[in-house]
Every structure is written in structure tokens, then in C-alpha cells.
Symmetry: C2
Subunit: 229 residues, 2 copies
DNA sequence: AAATCTTTGTGATATTATTCACAACATAAT
DNA sequence: ATTATGTTGTGAATAATATCACAAAGATTT
């Protein structure tokens, strides 16, 4: 099998998508083929098979993949069988929304600390009895509560000050929503998500159609490559 | 120059990141080199130059790029000079957060309609006097207000029903936050963002370090390739 | 004005990711 | 059993993306 090779980044991202789809599947569906998976998710069937084959021979020729087994395997590959302690920094509307997002707890991400500036007017508890802690205590709390991941939803003005504290806090990974590219260090994995960027990508595409280039855009060129959608 | 070639998807996404960085730059900085840009954003300088060269010869040899000119150019390339009418479907916490996100209006995305189920208990106005419209009226409002982009922040249970309505509404682009992969059609560009997936990617990486593979992961293999971070 | 330093733009190369195409296996039907 | 049908796993081919390396050109120093 394929397992000796390093799975591409792109493969890992797709695993999440496969898993989400499998989880939403009716319990009656016991087996699924790469063909069916690919069709529903607009991927290439060979790609689906190759993605899965990086981690083992999960399928059965002539039959397909056991949904149950596949879910278990992907859960394990993504490390979702382990509980991860998560903190959220910056409890504005977005932070609040994430704190209450039910999808996280389902995947074993345990939101166990919320940080904000003390000065801010806020209810001291949100949702299911989560307190808000002063951000100055972040380094201590990260250690005490063994927080693995911090989600940053601070306003961009605060990011410089906060990011220094976060990057040296001993946390292992950061998911940054502030519109500022945080760079990973040797010890801390950073993943940046920018909501404006996502909209801007759509804007670019709309703009292409509004003002077609002189080169006469063909279906192929400006059509929508499935893997990005 | 390069302009005849089709710019890669990846290039377009980076343009957003360049622009955001340039916008945050102090007004004193008049010129910037690909070197400096790349260093701050953890890209390769040649990549920065190539990205920009797809759209024209914006730089000056021996000097660099005019910050002002570059901002103007990227704005134009991404179509941010045009106002786009945006609607948000599903006014839960996330929808609310996006409705009030100041970054959108700055980039000429005009949030001009909020949709939700009428039955839901909600204030009829949020933030700067935005009303919530019953989602049944969506097709009509999209046409009347000439909405270009719809942002979907509905719960996953509702996505099937809503997506049919959205995809046939005449809207040109959709940004979907529901944990369900919506597929683009010929007429509608869809871009999916899944918040769980982003966390799961970090989880995968943490898991790699917890349980190193038998193959003895080297720095190179499991180190962090800059372009993803 | 020649030499030096800088930085762009881009061919050439390297790396990464996707798709094709088919042998190997599994099941079901005859 | 043999044939027909379906599906995986994967080498080989292709495509997309990133990086290197350097000529061309602007700026600066001598």
C-alpha cells in the first residue's frame, strides 16, 4: 500500500470533508464506493481512493468502503478520538458564535476557556455557564487547563499585542480569524482564516464575468474546477 | 509580460493577503519590495513577483512596488472597486456576527438583506437598522435588491431546503458556512467554508506529533511548509 | 561614466497534486 | 466453473504550482 508516503496537505483537508459527509449519511447506508463519494462531493473517484489509500487499505474490491469503518479510521487519522482543550481569545460576536458552535464539542474539541479584556462590558457567563477570563491571565490558564488550541477572534488592532502572548503561552496550535497573517513558529502551528478573503475570491470571479478578458475566456479556463468549490 | 496566462487560483487567494497587508501599512511606507512583502507574509519573493506579474508590470527594477499603485491594482483585479450587494441567510450568532463585521463594508460589500425564518424570535432590526426578512421572500428580494452574493449561515438541518431556493434565486455567488459541501452550478459560484474543518486540520497536526509515525518523521516532512500557514 | 548594488520579470527546473488507465480482487449470475 | 460486472489500489501520465537563478534595468557610489 501507499502508507509509506507522506499524505499531501490537500488530502488531509479532504478527509474532513469525507468524514462530515459520512456522518450525515443515513444509518441504512452500510457501504459506499469511491464513485458515490466523489459524485456527491464533486471530487474525482481516483482521488478519493488515493486519499484513503495513504492511510491504509480500507476498501474492499468489488464492494466499496464500510461507512462505519471509514468513519472510525478518519476520526483516528485526524486525531478526533482525543479530546482537545480549546480556548477562545476575544469574545466579540464571532468569538461568542464559535463558543456556542455545537459542531466543536461533537468532534471532541472542548471549549474550556474564554478570554477577553476585563474592561469590556460583558456578561461574565455565556451559553452553558462559561466564564470569561481576563486575557492577562491567558498564559497561566493555558498551562493550568492544559489548553492545546487557541482560537483568536480579537479585533485587528489587538492582534499584535495578543499574538505575542499567545505564541509564547505554550499552546500548540492557533486558529486565527483576525485579518492579519500570523506566522507559525517552530513550536506553534498557526492556521489563518480570513472571512474577507473568502468573499474577495468570489468578487474576483464575478468581476471576471463582468469584464471578460480580451483573451476570450473559454469554459475551460473560467469554468469552475471542482476541487476548489 | 505574463498577462496572457491564466493566473492560478492560488495566486488570486494570495492577492487578498497582499492587499490586507498593504492596507495595514503605515502611510510613510511608499515603496515595498517583493523581498519585504514575502518576508512578512512567509511567502517566497519570486512567488510574490510572479503573482503580481500575471496582471501587469507593476514594479520598478532596483526599487520595488509603489504601495499606493499596488493597492489600487489589486483592488481592481479583485473587483473590489465595484459595490456588491450581499445578503445573509440564517441570522443565528454567526450570521449576526458577519452582518456586523466591519471589514465587509470597507471592501465595498454592502450587506443589504438579512433572511431568517419568520417564526424565529428575533429582534426585527440588528446593528445599524437592518431588518430581518422572512426567508420565503428570498427569491423576490434577491431580484428586487439585485443581490450578487448570498452568505449562508443556516443550521445544517436547513441547508437542503434553503440551498434549492438559493441556487435558483438568480444570485451569482454563494459563500456557504453550513457544514455541508454545496456544489457550484453553471450559473452560481459556490465557495464553502467549514469552521470544523479548519480545527480538524490543526488536530491532525497535533496528532502527528503525539504519535510519530514509524517512518521517523524528519523536520522536512512534518515541518510546516510556509505557504499553508 | 564606470562600477556596484538592488530589485524586477521570467525562462528553466523542481515539487506537488490530480487524473487516467488497468491489473487484481470480489461478488453475483449462469 | 466460467462469465459478467463492479470496485479497489496504484503505477504512469498529466497538470498545476512553487522555487531557482539570472539577465535586464533602475539607483547609488566612486
Amino acid at each position: 500500500m501507499n502508507t509509506k508516503l507522506i499524505p499531501p496537505q490537500a488530502t488531509v483537508k479532504r478527509l474532513s470533508i469525507y468524514l462530515r459527509f459520512l456522518n450525515a449519511l443515513s444509518k441504512e447506508v452500510k457501504m459506499i464506493s469511491s464513485q458515490e463519494l466523489a459524485k456527491r462531493l464533486a471530487f474525482n473517484p481516483a482521488q478519493v481512493r488515493k486519499d484513503l489509500a495513504y492511510f491504509g487499505d480500507f476498501g474492499k474490491r468489488g464492494v466499496g468502503y464500510s461507512v462505519k469503518k471509514l468513519k472510525e479510521q478518519i476520526n483516528k487519522i485526524l486525531g478526533l478520538h482525543k479530546t482537545r482543550n480549546v480556548g477562545i481569545v476575544g469574545i466579540g460576536r464571532l468569538g461568542m458564535a464559535l463558543a456556542c458552535y455545537p459542531g466543536f464539542e461533537k468532534k471532541n474539541f472542548k471549549i474550556c476557556a474564554l478570554f477577553d479584556k476585563q474592561s469590556k462590558q460583558l456578561p461574565s457567563k455565556i451559553g452553558d455557564a462559561k466564564e470569561i477570563t481576563d486575557v492577562q491571565l491567558l498564559p497561566k490558564i493555558v498551562k493550568d487547563k492544559e489548553i492545546d488550541i487557541l482560537i483568536l477572534t480579537v479585533p485587528v488592532e489587538a492582534i499584535k499585542e495578543i499574538s505575542d502572548m499567545v505564541m509564547t503561552s505554550g499552546v500548540k496550535a492557533v486558529l486565527n480569524f483576525a485579518p492579519f497573517k500570523l506566522i507559525s513558529s517552530e513550536d506553534v502551528h498557526v492556521h489563518n482564516v480570513d472571512l474577507s478573503t473568502e468573499l474577495e475570491f468570489l468578487s474576483y470571479r464575478l468581476n471576471l464575468y463582468d469584464e471578460p478578458q480580451k483573451e476570450d475566456p473559454s469554459e475551460e479556463v473560467y469554468g469552475i474546477p471542482t476541487q476548489l468549490l
